[in-house]
C-alpha cells in the first residue's frame, strides 16, 4: 500500500534527535500505491465525545488489514530513525469537522507500552482551517508539570506523516478545526 522510496535516514534521525520540544519527525509525500480512500470508504465513523475531545472516528479495533500493512511497511524505517524498536501499530480513521478538537494530553499511560504516536493526514474534499498538531514544552519538578508552553505547530497536509515520541512530557493537542474537514489515520506504534 505504501512505497516510501529512498529517504535520507541519517537526516531523518538527526531531525528526530534535534526536534524540540520533544523528539518528532515529519515525512511528507507518504503516498499510497493503492486506493487508500476506497478502503476507508468502507469503514464507518461515529461521533465520539469526552472530556478531552470531540471528533468522528472509526471503531477502535477496525482497519485490521490496513494497520498491519502500515506497520509492516513503516516500522522498520521508524525503528532506524527513532531508535525505538517498533513492530506493530494500531490505527483509527478520524474526521474532524468544525468545532472538533483534542485537548492537550501526553498519550503516556503506564502499562500501555505506546512507544511512538503517529498522525497520517489524508486529502480532504475541503482543506481544514485549523486542526494543526501543536506540541508543548513542559517543565517538570518532581515529576509534576509546573509550566507548559506551545512550541511547535504542524499543519495537517495531505500525505504527511508525523511521528513523535510518547513520554510523560509529550504534551500535544489537535487545535480546534474552524472550517473544512481534517481527515487522518492515527494511532501508536508498539514493540
Amino acid at each position: 500500500m505504501w512505497q516510501l522510496g529512498p529517504r535520507d535516514e541519517d537526516a531523518l534521525a538527526a531531525a528526530w534527535r534535534a526536534a524540540t520540544p520533544f523528539p518528532y519527525v515529519v515525512l511528507d509525500d507518504v503516498v499510497p500505491t493503492g486506493d487508500l480512500m476506497e478502503v476507508l470508504d468502507d469503514e464507518g465513523v461515529a461521533r465520539y465525545e469526552a472530556e478531552l475531545f470531540v471528533f468522528e472516528a472509526s471503531p477502535p479495533n477496525g482497519l485490521a488489514e490496513l494497520r498491519a500493512r502500515f506497520a509492516e511497511q513503516l516500522a522498520p524505517l521508524l525503528s532506524r530513525v527513532t531508535g525505538r524498536q517498533v513492530t506493530r501499530a494500531d490505527m483509527r480513521a478520524f474526521a474532524y469537522r468544525p468545532g472538533h478538537y483534542l485537548l492537550p494530553h501526553t498519550d503516556h499511560q503506564d502499562g500501555l507500552e505506546r512507544l511512538l504516536a503517529y498522525a497520517y493526514y489524508l486529502p480532504s474534499p475541503e482543506a481544514p482551517l485549523g486542526g494543526e498538531l501543536e506540541l508543548y514544552r513542559c517543565e517538570l519538578e518532581n515529576g509534576e508539570v509546573v509550566a507548559t508552553e506551545p512550541a511547535t505547530r504542524i499543519e495537517p497536509r495531505p500525505w504527511r506523516l508525523v511521528v513523535f515520541d510518547v513520554s510523560a512530557v509529550s504534551l500535544h493537542q489537535v487545535r480546534e478545526v474552524l472550517g473544512g474537514l481534517r481527515i487522518s489515520l492515527a494511532g501508536w506504534f508498539y514493540a
Binding site: E51, P98, G99, V145, T148, L171, E176
Partner: protein, 153 residues
C-alpha cells in the same frame, strides 16, 4: 462511595438566582495539561448564602468564593479539580447563554450537567468521589463564560 454520597449527589439541582455581577483583576491559569482559564478570588456575597438557605433549608458557611472566566479556546479538566467536600454553588454570570457546560462526575460517569444560562445557579453536593470539569469553549463562539463558584461547608 456510599449510599449517602450517591443519593446526595443525585440531589444536585439548578435554580433561578437572579444574581448578576461583574468582576475585574483576573489571573490567567495556563498549565494546559489541566486547564486554560482566568480566575479571581472575590469576597463572599450574602445573596448566595440566602440562595443556599432558601433551597436547602440550612444556613451554611461559605469557605471559598472564586470567579472563573473562560474565553473561546478555554477549558478546565477534571484532573485540575480538588474534589472538595461541601455544597458547591455555581452562579452563572455570563453575558449570554452559550454551548458550554460544567460536568460533574462520579467514578468517571457524568451525573450532572450545568449549562451556561445566565441568571441560574447550580447546587451540587461535593464528596471526594466527585470531580468536575468545565467543557471546552469553542473558538467559534463569540461570548465568554463567567461562573462564580462558591463552596459552602
Amino acid at each position: 462511595m456510599n449510599l449517602e454520597e450517591l443519593l446526595a449527589t443525585r440531589s444536585a439541582l439548578i435554580v433561578p438566582s437572579g444574581i448578576t455581577a461583574r468582576f475585574a483583576g483576573f489571573t490567567r491559569y495556563a498549565l494546559v495539561d489541566r486547564g486554560s482559564y482566568e480566575w479571581v478570588d472575590v469576597p463572599v456575597d450574602p445573596r448566595i448564602g440566602e440562595l443556599v438557605a432558601t433551597h436547602t433549608g440550612m444556613r451554611r458557611q461559605c469557605i471559598a468564593s472564586r470567579v472563573i472566566r473562560l474565553v473561546p479556546g478555554d477549558f478546565i479538566l477534571a484532573r485540575h479539580d480538588t474534589s472538595p467536600t461541601g455544597l458547591e454553588v455555581v452562579i452563572d454570570i455570563s453575558p449570554a447563554p452559550c454551548a458550554a457546560e460544567v460536568h460533574y462526575r462520579q467514578h468517571g460517569q457524568v451525573f450532572f450537567r450545568v449549562p451556561c444560562e445566565p441568571g441560574t445557579a447550580a447546587l451540587v453536593p461535593r464528596y471526594p468521589s466527585v470531580t468536575s470539569n468545565h467543557t471546552y469553549l469553542s473558538k467559534l463562539a463569540t461570548v465568554e463564560v463567567v461562573r462564580w463558584v462558591c463552596l459552602f461547608a
